[in-house]
Assembly symmetry: C2
Homo-oligomer: 281 residues x 2
Amino acid sequence: MKVGIIGLGLMGGSFALDIKKPFPNSEIFGIDSSSKNLDEALELGLIDHKIDYKDLNKMDLILISVPVNNIFGLIDKVLDVVGDNTLVFDVGSTKEPICKYLKNHEKRSNFLAAHPMAGTEFSGPTAAIKGLYVGKTNIICEFEKTDKKLGKLALEIFDALKMKTIYMDPKSHDVHVAYVSHLSHVSSFMLGKTVIEKEKNENNIFDLAGSGFESTVRLAKSSPNTWTPIFLQNKTNLAAAIDEYVTNLNLLKELIVEENDEELNKILNNTNRIKEILNKK
Amino acid sequence: MKVGIIGLGLMGGSFALDIKKPFPNSEIFGIDSSSKNLDEALELGLIDHKIDYKDLNKMDLILISVPVNNIFGLIDKVLDVVGDNTLVFDVGSTKEPICKYLKNHEKRSNFLAAHPMAGTEFSGPTAAIKGLYVGKTNIICEFEKTDKKLGKLALEIFDALKMKTIYMDPKSHDVHVAYVSHLSHVSSFMLGKTVIEKEKNENNIFDLAGSGFESTVRLAKSSPNTWTPIFLQNKTNLAAAIDEYVTNLNLLKELIVEENDEELNKILNNTNRIKEILNKK
């Protein structure tokens, strides 16, 4: 299988590593706007060859794994060259903008809108790790708009990676991920900012940081180039999520100031349910 | 060495497990207001014997590891029975209230105010784990108020557990932990609350939760009985920290709504410094 990967960062690089296990005969071809990243991906053995957009017509499968603002325009260049038998899919964290953008594209059926709930706080080719995709939930949007044969190929690949595929319309997808993914990043980034601002003496932070702070602030290490465009593309849903989060923070603060231990305890207890909810996984 | 532990939860139980490695001849005696917890601690081998307050005079070392609101009164019962050669220390997450409370106590010099930056999101005797204290930062307040010989014993124990001891006055301690520890718990609990409220269909949460959400919301699994009194005892500092956090969240929201990608990217980039700060550890 000839696999083209555009964008050799955490997502693209890890896909290159993971796909070779179920499909050992895969040949991986890479494109990246950064020649440094591309060279690095070749040296790390993530890709077998560097190629150009014009060579994409030979691919069976093309993964677009670039920051979500860079997919527009780029996707046209890809769809322009591919034939009927090439599956093109993305792994972006927002789905409404790209689905809208491609709505009337004559090659819409070559494309599959996907979002694997996978990642780490690291970025670039060196961040690529084996097993990133294994066992993760993968959300597919507008599956009916993808060519049947290509959709079948996509499912075979996701199944081979042992991903758990679920289906959602793009609008619902963007609402849900605003809460379950994007808000976590906002909350973590702003926790990091607040603590850095307060602790001008950074030694205090690393002396005092327990494992609790470290895990809560982990996502604040994530790539600004990945996350700025995600926040912007999902701005309406995310702004609403931040408002609800702030309302809850202010409520908790009031209960603390009023020393309302009964109500505080009740709220914390009720939120403890997240343990059982996540344990179902 | 005879070690008395009052409160056989995560902190007390883990101390029982850790102390036996450097001090294999330690004999562990337990007290807990919950007879169920105490029986469980005995069954799990955390403690060797159950005892009563009146037996505490035989101890070399007494650890008080109860929720921070329960230490008042209880500490008097302990100090009332111990002789000059018994070290009593606590591991509570707030230090100003207990230091104030004991300020003029005739047996103040038996007591050492400590706060190991160690923990997990679990609680009760079954949450006790080996190695919880190893390598962690331990904050000692008002060291000069502890008897010299007993202070020396405390440092020997903390060193034997390979803890990194630092010194701080109680007021500063409570300010710093408001930001570096307590705010993380508030942020995580309220993230959990916000997501649970939005996702009435809890299946969405466990389907969509990636490792990012899981680590950011981990602390929301923590014990309400431990954290409600911590929040209340540190209310002034914590309320200020929540205010600063909310200000930053609102700022980020405005930048998202205005689509100010340049400023957003700058803020996220600047917050990425948390990576280097924590890497110094």
